[in-house]
């Protein structure tokens, strides 16, 4: 699997780039979290304590290179440092607490959006010239709608006005987390609106992307041939056209994951969802370098892994890659 090895190499390189970028950005930019903390506490901290806190937060004066080596060393041990916002909690703990929510929400929502979007795209391309073309303008519109605006609108309609769904947090206040049906139900109920937001906002891209590739694919000789063979429309549509049209879409889907993750950060914030997006914003607001770095790293790595999985899927789905490269 030479192809995969190459891709893996690339992802490792990218991961390294992300890690290094992550290290560099905060160090190249001005700002001091302790000062900020003091300002936020409006004088509840005496300025004289600042130096001591600075040390406690691990803000160091060592050379950049030394810091980089330390940073890599710590990373290798899975240590992301201590969060400043949640001091003395470890960044890894903060992330471990919030990541499952994001993965669950974004994962499920993306899957749904992918499945529905792809299917709709296929069907719309197949039934060109019918009323289904009417979905196109709607999809074009949805393609350009900000995630958080969709979220706001859903909150307004279903949360505030109709009160059908809860509009914040990940599960009910009175439910204790655990492997209970009650907890699961509460989680699903609370995830409904955020998930719908992500599905609605990200589906349009899938529809449009799939439709375009599918339309092009429909013009391919092998689709015409399949039709000429007298196969059922279903078979021509899925096994011949869609099956091939999905291939170029896999890569673009994987790449669009980054956008979905970005959008879900905003969505989480609107819904006060205790995921990684809310944490990221908190980190940014508090100039919490370690937390921001940790989260950005985790998001990047997650997107990288997703991309690698997409490559795997590509290899599985496209017999040509099993032999050739690129």
């Amino acid at each position: 699997m030479r192809f995969l090895a190459r891709r893996l190499g690339f992802y490792l390189l990218t991961a390294w780039a992300a890690i290094t970028l992550n290290f560099l950005i905060p160090r190249l930019m001005p700002g001091d979290p302790v000062e900020l903390l003091v300002a936020r506490m409006k004088g509840n901290v005496d300025p004289a304590a600042i130096d001591a806190m600075r040390r406690a937060f691990g803000i160091s004066d060592a050379s950049l290179w030394q810091q980089y080596l330390d940073y890599l060393g710590n990373l290798a041990h899975g240590e992301l440092g201590r969060s400043i916002t949640f001091f003395p909690a470890e960044v890894s703990t903060v992330i471990a607490d919030s990541l499952p929510w994001t993965v669950g929400l974004v994962g499920v929502a993306t899957l749904i959006s992918y499945l529905i979007g792809t299917a709709l795209g296929v069907i719309m391309a197949w039934k060109r010239g019918t009323w289904l073309d009417g979905v196109l303008p709607a999809a074009t519109f949805m393609h350009a709608v900000p995630y958080f605006w969709v979220a706001l609108a859903l909150v307004f309609v279903f949360g505030v006005t109709l009160q059908w769904f809860p509009v914040s947090r990940a599960y009910g206040l009175d439910v204790m987390p655990g492997l209970t049906g009650e907890f699961a139900q509460s989680v699903l109920y609370h995830a409904a609106l955020p998930a719908i937001t992500i599905v609605v906002a990200s589906m349009a891209d899938r529809i449009l992307g799939m439709r375009n590739v599918m339309v092009t694919t429909l013009g391919e000789d092998y689709v015409v041939m399949a039709e000429a063979k007298g196969l059922t429309s279903r078979r021509v549509m899925w096994a011949y056209a869609a099956r091939n049209a999905i291939l170029p879409n896999i890569t673009s889907f994987a790449l669009s994951l980054g956008f979905v993750v970005g959008g879900s950060v905003l969505t989480e914030i609107v819904f006060s969802y205790p995921g990684i997006g809310s944490m990221l914003l908190k980190g940014v607001e508090n100039e919490d370098f370690p937390l921001m770095q940790g989260i950005f790293l985790v998001i990047s790595l997650a997107v990288l892994v997703a991309n690698f999985l997409a490559d795997l899927a590509y290899v599985v789905l496209d017999p040509r890659t099993r032999q050739e490269s690129e």
Binding site: Y11, L28, P30, A144, V261, G262
Partner: protein, 276 residues
């Protein structure tokens, strides 16, 4: 058809951004004591909590939102063209390096990166926000342009130009670049959409300059002012709608260009059976 509709929307907003403020004249930040009024003859789109006129804000906001969008798309497109064309044309190690760079930026999730970068920005003016967005948004274009350059470079007319003795710069700018114009145009428009959305997202998070009125900052204030709870729909609907409309306009123009390049994509009416 699509292009016309899309261009119509764009022209409308562009005119609004350029001439709207001159026509309206009022200060978008000016507060008044009639806060939170619904749409009325006096305030067509109602007012914010501090009595700012929403229509005036929308008109001024168009400037910022479109400005950031266009500015960062310009920067991103220049970057994309440079990286894509150089990589695609020069090839070899330079190309390898550039395409790894491109792919890295492509895979790294943009919005979190923008948020992180914006978090560190010392100045959050329109220009710096645009730069941050551009820095994270050029990779798509570069990738597409590189692929196109690679294929154009192999085309016979480029080979022919080289064989007749043209220099590399001339080949890039006179032979390859014109062919890539439609691609550059689509990538530019797509970047404008992405940049407008990114700016809105940043403002919404309070990470852009909130004393300039943009659609994103309007949404930020609406959210902070609990427009949802108060039922002040006129406060948060219009800015979001404008963003979406501009995005739709750009996307329509883009699809139009795509359809010209790839006629198969056109929506068609199933022809009636016109058989004798």
């Amino acid at each position: 058809m699509k292009i016309k509709l899309g261009a119509g929307i764009l022209v409308f907003f562009a005119l609004m951004a350029v001439f709207g403020p001159l026509l309206i004249g009022a200060d978008p930040a000016a507060t008044s004591e009639d806060g939170l009024q619904g749409p009325s003859a006096q305030h067509w789109l109602g007012t914010t909590q501090t009595g700012q006129d929403i229509l005036v804000q929308i008109v001024y906001g168009a400037r910022v939102s479109l400005g950031v969008g266009v500015l960062s798309a310009l920067i991103a497109t220049v970057l994309a063209v440079a990286v894509g064309l150089v990589g695609g044309y020069v090839g070899g190690a330079v190309d390898e390096a550039l395409s790894v760079l491109t792919n890295i930026f492509l895979v790294l999730p943009a919005l979190p990166l923008i948020i992180v970068l914006a978090g560190y920005l010392p100045q959050r003016g329109v220009a710096s926000v645009a730069v941050v967005i551009a820095v994270t948004g050029w990779a798509w274009g570069a990738r597409v342009l590189r692929a196109q350059t690679l294929s154009v470079r192999r085309r016979d007319f480029v080979q022919a130009a080289r064989a007749s003795g043209e220099g590399p710069l001339r080949i890039v700018f006179y032979e390859i670049l014109p062919v890539l114009l439609p691609v550059i145009a689509t990538s530019f428009l797509a970047t404008v959409v992405a940049a407008i959305l990114a700016e809105a997202g940043l403002s919404f998070l309070g990470l852009a300059d909130l004393s300039t009125v943009s659609w994103g900052s309007m949404l930020y204030f609406a959210q902070n002012g609990q427009a949802l709870l108060i039922g002040a729909w006129w406060w948060f609907i219009p800015p979001g709608l404008c963003i979406a409309l501009i995005g739709t306009g750009l996307a329509l123009v883009n699809f139009g260009i795509d359809e010209i390049a790839n006629p198969r994509l056109r929506t068609i009416k199933a022809p009636r059976k016109a058989r004798a």
